[in-house]
Symmetry: C2
Subunit: 336 residues, 2 copies
DNA sequence: CTGAAAGCGCTTACAG
DNA sequence: CTGAAAGCGCTTACAG
């Protein structure tokens, strides 16, 4: 039989109200009775039932998190950031994925209606932004971790510097003497694709080296598209001395295709990715890439949501955490 | 103002009891009243508050999951397996990590005491098995996803075939003509290390090729240890034509060291890992490895726990899901 | 077949 | 400074 507030009250010879007050530090209480109650709580190892507290207070002290899938290479970092912050503030994290598609969203919707959590952190599963916006409009506190730079402006969000990150990659390539990069983009419907393209192109244009259409390949963030882009370019005789891929997975595909074609990395072709997934550090050679501050983004999103619970209004413009360029062997030969 | 069971009752002109009954399908009710109540529920979009249901029923319909860290390369697969099963059964998943060490365990303990969930899935953070066992003894339903083959026998668990998986790797190496493998183990305190060693050694011993001590390197599952093992072996003139690493990370280290030393993979040295992390498919060459059925393990653990909630006793011997060998370029040259 | 009432374990006005 | 009572939104004996 689990012990309840009534047990504590009886043993300390006070009312449940008083126990509740020492528990929550509300109201003036005689220090000696408070001490006595605390002693009993300690002695009995009493911890208030979260179910009961939740019902009485109308909040669960739980935050929901919706992500597309847990098997994406970088999603763990984001969640870890959020979990660490929530844990510190004694909140729980209720995890939802969209792994089973429509059915997943239906189950998720049911949990929203059942008020299973006080607020929501979300990495938007594609095509659900309208639904998320609706929830937000109906009063559910929501913070979006906007990995695709889709910010509608309506939902509070945290993102990174896609434009400047790509610019940093471009400057690095120029610095090491590359003049004709092949660009493998993400899907064109994503804001991050536009930003990365623009940021990268601007730097090369400024250097008097505008990137022609034949050196831009519309990709889709898969390994396969990276390989395909390189093969096609090689087959059609397009000259290039570098590859800038909009994510690390397509950079991996590009590297494989280059090696299969006998090109040396980085001597013949330098390769740069975007994301800095764990694999990036372990390719042969290791992949230079634009590091997304994923953990920090998760932390920031969680902090924003918790601050809102304390009364801070949700910010009306995105929180932006800078990306940073990481130099590895795919752009610079190892120095002996 | 969220709508409650009282609203539904009033509108349908019945008691809350009756509404509750149609909600839960309990008791005999007149089909016409039931239909009327259902119509009102539909009309109002009513969903019972999970907080209130939880308090009244004494269960939360939430399962806790404790994992060491979300940034380990294979942990996402396990969680995804669990989430998918829980979602199907309309359970929620409350996620805890041990990322912040002692403090994390303290917060986790508080949530256990607060009865925030009905049962626990755990990938044991090292050194916490006694604590988990204590929770189990005190009545918390627990299922362990036993990645390290530590099974104490006390806690219900699901694991894989470490012994046979390693055996399969050994048979593969023999089949492709390798006779002197270098073995890079995991920490010796782990059951999986013993099993993988035994399973691998037995096959080579049976073939009349026992593995001498000089070709066994005590590793620790890091990339660094894999590189170190190979370098040391090369430096001291130990001959080997294959590497069997007890996990993929150390296999990556071994591959890097081999390439740095100018050895060709797989022509000079074949390399096999264990785990089949996402990176394994994208190394150069791709890594042959023993695939751990991580997602299936997560699913099985979740199903076992849910079955227990329905009255099925927790199994007293581990559920074992077979590992399988995956052949890639690090052991077999690509056929043109 | 249906409902009034008690109970789940807390919190929070309201009194004193 | 402290307590009795109502309330959070459900479920579940118990009656009828």
């Amino acid at each position: 039989m689990p012990i309840t507030i009534a047990d504590v009250a009886a043993r300390a010879k006070v009312s449940k109200t008083t126990v509740s007050r020492v528990l929550n530090g509300k109201g003036e209480l005689d220090e000696s009775t408070a001490a006595r109650v605390r002693a009993v709580i300690e002695e009995l190892g009493y911890v208030p039932s979260s179910r009961a507290v939740g019902l009485a207070r109308g909040r669960t002290r739980v935050v929901g998190m919706l992500v597309p899938s847990l098997t994406w290479p970088w999603i763990g970092e984001v969640i870890q950031g959020a979990v660490d912050v929530l844990e510190t503030e004694r909140y729980g994290l209720l995890l939802f994925t969209c792994n089973r598609g429509e059915e997943s969203m239906r189950q998720f919707g049911a949990q929203v209606s059942a008020k299973s959590f006080d607020g929501l952190l979300v990495i938007e599963p594609e095509g659900t932004l309208d639904y998320i916006a609706t929830l937000h409009r109906r009063g559910l506190p929501v913070v979006l971790i906007d990995d695709r730079d889709q910010t509608s402006g309506e939902i509070p969000s945290v993102g990174t510097t896609n434009h400047d990150g790509a610019g940093a990659a471009a400057r690095h390539l120029l610095r090491i003497g590359r003049r004709s990069p092949l660009v493998i983009t993400g899907p064109e419907r994503f804001g991050c694709t536009l930003q990365r393209n623009a940021g990268f192109a601007a730097v090369f244009a400024d250097a008097g080296l505008p990137i022609p259409a034949e050196r831009t390949w519309l990709g889709d963030f898969t390994v396969a598209c990276g390989a395909e882009a390189v093969q096609t370019a090689l087959d059609s005789g397009v000259e290039f001395d570098a590859v800038f891929a909009h994510n690390d997975l397509s950079a991996l595909g590009a590297m494989q295709a280059l090696m299969d074609a006998g090109r040396r990395i980085p001597q013949d072709v330098a390769v740069v990715g975007f994301d800095d997934i764990p694999t990036a550090a372990h390719t042969q050679p290791p992949l230079s890439t634009v590091h997304q501050p994923l953990r920090e983004m998760g932390e920031a999103a969680a902090r924003t949501l918790l601050a809102h619970f304390e009364g801070t209004p949700l910010p009306n413009r995105p929180t932006v955490i800078p990306a940073s360029f990481v130099t590895r062997g795919s752009t610079v030969a190892p120095t002996e």
